[in-house]
Subunit: 460 residues, 2 copies
Amino acid sequence: MEEDEINGLRSEIRDITEKIMYDVHKRMQISKRIGEIKSKLNVDVTDEKVEQDIRKSVSKLAKEIGMDNEFSGKLLNIILTESVKLQQRQQYGRTQRQTHLGIFMKAKELEAAGKKVIHMEVGEPDYPPPKNVKSALIKSYEDSHYHYTETKGILKLRQAVANKVQNSTKADQVIITAGARFAVFSAFASLLRIGDEIVSIEPAWPAYKECADFVGAKINLLKTTLEQEWIPDVETLGNIINTSTKMIVINYPNNPTGKVLDDKILEKIVSLAKDNNMYLLSDEVYSDYAFNGFKSILEFGYDKSIMISSFSKGYAMTGFRVGYAIANTHILDKMAKVQATTLTSVAEPMQYCALTALEGNDPSQNKKKMKKRLDLICDRLRKISFSLFEPEGGMYVYPKFNNEIQDDDVTIVERLLDLGVAVAPGSGFGDSYRRFIRISGCQPENILQQGLDRIEAAIY
Amino acid sequence: MEEDEINGLRSEIRDITEKIMYDVHKRMQISKRIGEIKSKLNVDVTDEKVEQDIRKSVSKLAKEIGMDNEFSGKLLNIILTESVKLQQRQQYGRTQRQTHLGIFMKAKELEAAGKKVIHMEVGEPDYPPPKNVKSALIKSYEDSHYHYTETKGILKLRQAVANKVQNSTKADQVIITAGARFAVFSAFASLLRIGDEIVSIEPAWPAYKECADFVGAKINLLKTTLEQEWIPDVETLGNIINTSTKMIVINYPNNPTGKVLDDKILEKIVSLAKDNNMYLLSDEVYSDYAFNGFKSILEFGYDKSIMISSFSKGYAMTGFRVGYAIANTHILDKMAKVQATTLTSVAEPMQYCALTALEGNDPSQNKKKMKKRLDLICDRLRKISFSLFEPEGGMYVYPKFNNEIQDDDVTIVERLLDLGVAVAPGSGFGDSYRRFIRISGCQPENILQQGLDRIEAAIY
């Protein structure tokens, strides 16, 4: 008898499934038609307001009929994403974003063909890691430090990182990751679900968007401007947030702008995250290059904050691929699970090198060097056709072309590449920054001068 | 006028969206009711046959109404997954799987508390990496090899790997990954979509399931038995495959069984993959430990095969975290994108160490050593209450308790741990292997003897 009931219910399920698919398809057809009209009217495909309305109505309905809100949200996101995709097909092909890494690869090709290129496009220090790292490499072999380690990293390194960042931080609040990029990825992958939304402040390191895309999260952008000294408007930030927003991502000292945030604004952002029970991910990889002081997110004691940093910039150890995250153990356990699943653990010799780098080395020498270089870049740029914000930290200058320059960033970057100097196009850090380039200070001063000579020649 | 049309269409969209959600909810209610009945009848929640029928009917409908097949499949998968989740809630809590890593962690805790434990649970060689790796570590600093590298790894290492594996392999068919685990993960993440299915042969290294779960792919299992000498039945394998199956995963020499597959069976599996246009991922990390020869998947020249290996086992370099995959460039480009997004690149000093390990070192010394150890283990086990398959490769013995032993694997493993010897529970490699344990040969012979003494004491 129960068998009969199951069979009956199964046939009901088949019918209703077909009905759902049919309606979804019908919905797509309508959406496509809207896309056609939008294309004719030359209107942007995504319409936040309309999306928000639909979200609200679905959320209300889910509540009324007792449907799981998370599930209905996920389903809706998939349908909305498909709609946008369909509508975009109606519009003109979008230009592929050209990032600093793309230019780096092009520059490498030119070099392979015999051309000399000055690299002012990448964020990789030209100076070496601390000297005692060399003996750490030898010692790692002698001490048999070439095994799997705990997923969260060797305890000594976690302890040393805890001591470095803040007195009250404990080793169990630290995870050692395969670079800061993997810290971002594992935070996104473990804390966000498909269809969740995050907010990032533009211009921004492209990795946030790449990682968000990878895990199926939607990234909403708060734009900042040179004219407003790259200060994010917290009120606007508040308006971008909706019930699907699970995380705010900030990055100060900022790549590419060199902005360091005022404590008060940071405090407002923390409050906003707190009030909306959101994660607050603070990428602080450039904190060793804060020229006039810097307040870490850790000092605000917000339980859902994740501070990310690495040894790549402060200790010039990019190729060692060692980063870390600091958060509560609940968050870290989730991130560790991602690391265990995908990597087992971080290379043990590299962890010991990072530990040694922390012992008896002060990254402030690198900071002084970088500050002098960025000053040099700013001085030269001011004399050419650029407006700029003087970096308060980081390793870059992000100048804007003055009005007499008609070309966009990619055109100029390619012209510069022909002249033997590689810089990063501004739009790699956000679609609307087509009048910017990013110049990196990761070269000795005499090389920077040569590069700037070529830039000057190209601009005039 | 067009504005009016848009508004009308938008209100239609709102209505139809609500209708979809309402129907999905109704579907869930029916599904829940089926779950209740199944629970009463004590039937398993997942029913492949029913799922297949629904898939087929939806696929047919999609074709009829001109709906994107990929999109309809994705939507259906999300609905089906939610149904299974709902039904599982009706049933009893599932027991958590205890893996070799879990036992390793427990053993570490006991050691921290002062207890001595013999580690026969993990697959980590006790002997060191090749000696010239030490000079490679020093040289990496001296040569400034501590930078970002190409995402796919340094060309020299890719070339050296290509030379090692097969004469016809070219460097552009090789990607260097952060360990073989990351190779598996990046292959899954780049080649599978949510709801895609893969087939794995049990008993199996748990990473395949972990990575499949992570990317939202469904894993179907073909069981093999000791009685059938761990030979997979290719006909059954063919029956498990359906239109959603995108990949077969194989691993020979096998962890944990030590099986090496006969060429003819391997050929049949390749044909099956070919006939169904599926990827064939062959994890060959134990190929340096094949005692009587071994044929790599590469020798079959199947275009959609992915061969994965690493330096961890053959060269005893677990902690360096360097693995690789060999496949066509189309597949590699996709895998490289995953690596670029999550890791940037593999630590450069570690890549140079791997390169040096390949130069002038022959892993066959390690193979001889391991073979002798596994023989020793087998000899001892045969005298106790175990049935076993003599390993044809790998680093493990996977014996089965004879009938006079009543307890299951986890009970015995815990009893052994109390006696100071850690082994891996058989069920860590597949739910149905509760009468097996995995014993690793990664200890010197005298230590293995001591461990086996304790096992003997525990069994009698």
